[in-house]
């Protein structure tokens, strides 16, 4: 009885899952077909598989440059926010004073402020600092993510036994040394989780590049896709091929980091 129910559930869920995945299948399969073949049989597997669309995308769009831009912004933003966030979390557990209480309160407020409420003044500020239309300007804005990192890391940091820190202090290690040599290695799991989460945010973000980047050479991948929609309105295979190329690093990342993504989901929600 349970066995049959298992198979029935399986059949229904696989059909529903397949239906959910149709858009992904559709864009993937049609990038290997000629436009005629797509029109004739949109959902069939390609009969005369071709890589022509891929060659065309690589030749006509700045996909490699955009990839490097995205990589640059993601690496520096995530490294910066994870470092600042874990430093802050460590500062908070060093001692409970009026200072830490005040900082904790302010950060809690900041955590709830939507970026929309500060966007216009930040735009003005970056114009004055000549950081508009600059990848470094994006890194500055993404450093806001430090507060989210701080929250996730703080919960985990509290599980580090105080005796370990005390022992290091008695051995004469300074606060900076304790932080880099003892605390960071001990909280490695949460650092990975937070980095995975923030990487997905920065890599996929559209709003900030769309507002702050205007030069085609400085586009991130998502922005490149957006400008391609306008450019290739009649050339769907090229747009779909670009989409598939964009999805490749994301899918690889997902396959390797799936465990941490799900961990982060629960940790993030339990703590945040």
């Amino acid at each position: 009885m349970t066995r049959t129910r298992g198979w029935l559930t399986s059949a229904i869920m696989l059909i529903v899952a397949a239906a959910m995945a149709v858009p992904f299948y559709y864009i993937l399969v049609n990038t290997f077909k000629s436009q005629d073949e797509t029109a004739r049989s949109p959902l069939a597997l390609p009969i005369h598989a071709t890589l022509a669309h891929y060659a065309q995308v690589l030749a006509t769009t700045n996909v490699v440059g955009s990839f490097l831009n995205t990589l640059y912004v993601t690496v520096f933003s995530v490294a910066l926010m994870v470092l600042v966030g874990s430093m802050a979390a460590y500062g908070m557990i060093l001692g409970r004073t009026k200072l830490t209480a005040a900082v904790g309160g302010l950060l809690a407020v900041a955590f709830l402020v939507p970026g929309q409420a500060t966007l216009i003044p930040i735009y003005q500020m970056l114009v004055d600092a000549r950081l508009v239309d600059s990848l470094n300007g994006l890194v500055v804005i993404y450093s806001c993510g430090s507060i989210f990192c701080y929250y996730l890391i703080l919960g985990y940091m509290r599980t580090v036994p105080a005796e370990v820190l005390e022992a290091a202090r008695i051995d004469g290690a300074g606060a900076g040394r304790i932080f880099f040599a003892i605390v960071l290695p001990l909280i490695r799991p949460i650092l990975i989780t937070v980095s995975v989460f923030q990487t997905m945010w920065v890599w996929n973000d559209f709003i900030i590049p769309n507002v702050f980047i205007s030069t085609p050479e400085k586009q991130t991948l998502v922005l490149l896709a957006y400008s391609a929609v306008g450019q290739f309105t009649t050339d769907w295979p090229t747009f779909m091929t670009l989409t598939v190329i964009l999805l490749v690093p994301v899918v690889i990342f997902f396959l390797f980091m799936q465990r941490y993504i799900v961990d982060g989901l629960t940790q993030g929600s339990v703590k945040g």
């Binding site: 040394r177 932080f179 880099f180 559209f206 747009f239 929600s269």
Partner: protein, 316 residues
């Protein structure tokens, strides 16, 4: 990237002995400041000052062309409420946030319950449902824009024409259909993610509870209502808070799918803010909208937290 960071942090190994006593006291007292300084700098530069400026700009006639600005009281707030674009953006954003929150919650909980049972191919199904949360939602919006293209040559329309024989459906060019399309795509993209969130909580419910209930003669529906749902209240709180705040702040999906059109039908508060504040440099009015938005989001979060705290107190 994540790995390199923690690896580089592990370089220094041994700690030298015999450091004078007073240095220890100095580090113990001085250190919190040093470690909190970077985040406080970010707080001041990217939160405190801009928030103050938003508030100040909202009472002035600031624009991007002159530095000379004048206090004009509540005129920007009045203008924001009279602006048809801003008003319709506010309504659509509220409707989007409310409808996606309810729809995703109602779909994700049963989905999580099913994904928590044993069946062949379960892991594949879990991954497929979760997957739309991985790529950029903006890119998904663009892909759906091609699928739902209202012309006869749109992917869905040509399929419908071939299979059912009906003419092109104006998915994105009719105001109501466009609103529905945006919401349906949002539900498609996020339900799996929230189901996995619920699943994590479901897995922490001890199976003893269900065994005991079975002995007492409880049916499946009764068990869901009396065990599963009450124990899921913390997950419901988290999921709804994320959906509600995410929904109110939404920009990417409606913008890439419909550009906020047709007319202002799917315009969001964030899109209005960017267009008026950045592109048109009507900083005063856009700042008024930003302040109103901040208050609205704050009020909704506080309200939601109060309600869910009461529910949690009742059930756990």
């Amino acid at each position: 990237m994540a790995l390199s960071l923690s690896r580089s942090a592990a370089i220094p190994r041994t700690a030298p002995l015999g450091v004078p006593r007073d240095r220890r006291r100095v580090t113990a007292q001085g250190a919190p400041w040093l470690f909190l300084a970077p985040i406080m700098a970010i707080f001041v530069v990217l939160y405190a000052i801009p928030l103050g400026q938003s508030l100040w700009f909202s009472f002035t006639d600031a624009n991007g062309y002159t530095t000379d600005m004048h206090w004009i009281g509540l005129a920007n707030y009045a203008a924001a409420f009279k602006d048809p674009e801003m008003v319709s953006a506010l309504w659509f954003t509220l409707a989007y946030a409310a409808i996606t929150t309810v729809a995703i919650t109602c779909l994700a909980i049963p989905l999580a319950v099913v994904l928590n049972t044993r069946f062949p191919g379960r892991d594949v199904v879990r991954s497929v449902f979760f997957f739309p949360a991985v790529p950029s939602i903006a890119v998904l919006g663009m892909v759906w824009g091609f699928i739902l293209n209202p012309l006869g040559s749109g992917v869905l329309n040509s399929a419908l024409h071939a299979v059912v024989g009906i003419g092109p459906v104006p998915w994105l060019s009719d105001p109501h259909l466009a609103q529905i399309s945006v919401i349906v795509v949002a539900v498609w993209a996020q339900t799996g993610w929230h189901a996995i969130l619920y699943l994590a909580y479901l897995q922490s419910i001890p199976s003893d509870y269900y065994d005991a209930a079975t002995i007492d003669g409880a049916g499946r529906v009764r068990m869901f209502r009396s065990i599963t749902l009450p124990l899921l209240t913390p997950a419901i709180t988290v999921s709804q808070l994320l959906l509600m705040t995410g929904g109110l702040k939404v920009y990417d999906l409606p913008f890439t799918l419909t550009h906020g059109g047709p007319g202002f039908a799917t315009r969001t508060v964030t899109q209005s803010l960017i267009e008026q504040g950045v592109a048109q440099a009507d900083i005063g009015k856009a700042s008024a909208l930003a302040v109103l938005f901040l208050l609205l989001v704050g009020a909704i979060i506080l309200g939601q937290m109060t309600v869910s705290r009461r529910l949690e107190a009742r059930y756990t």
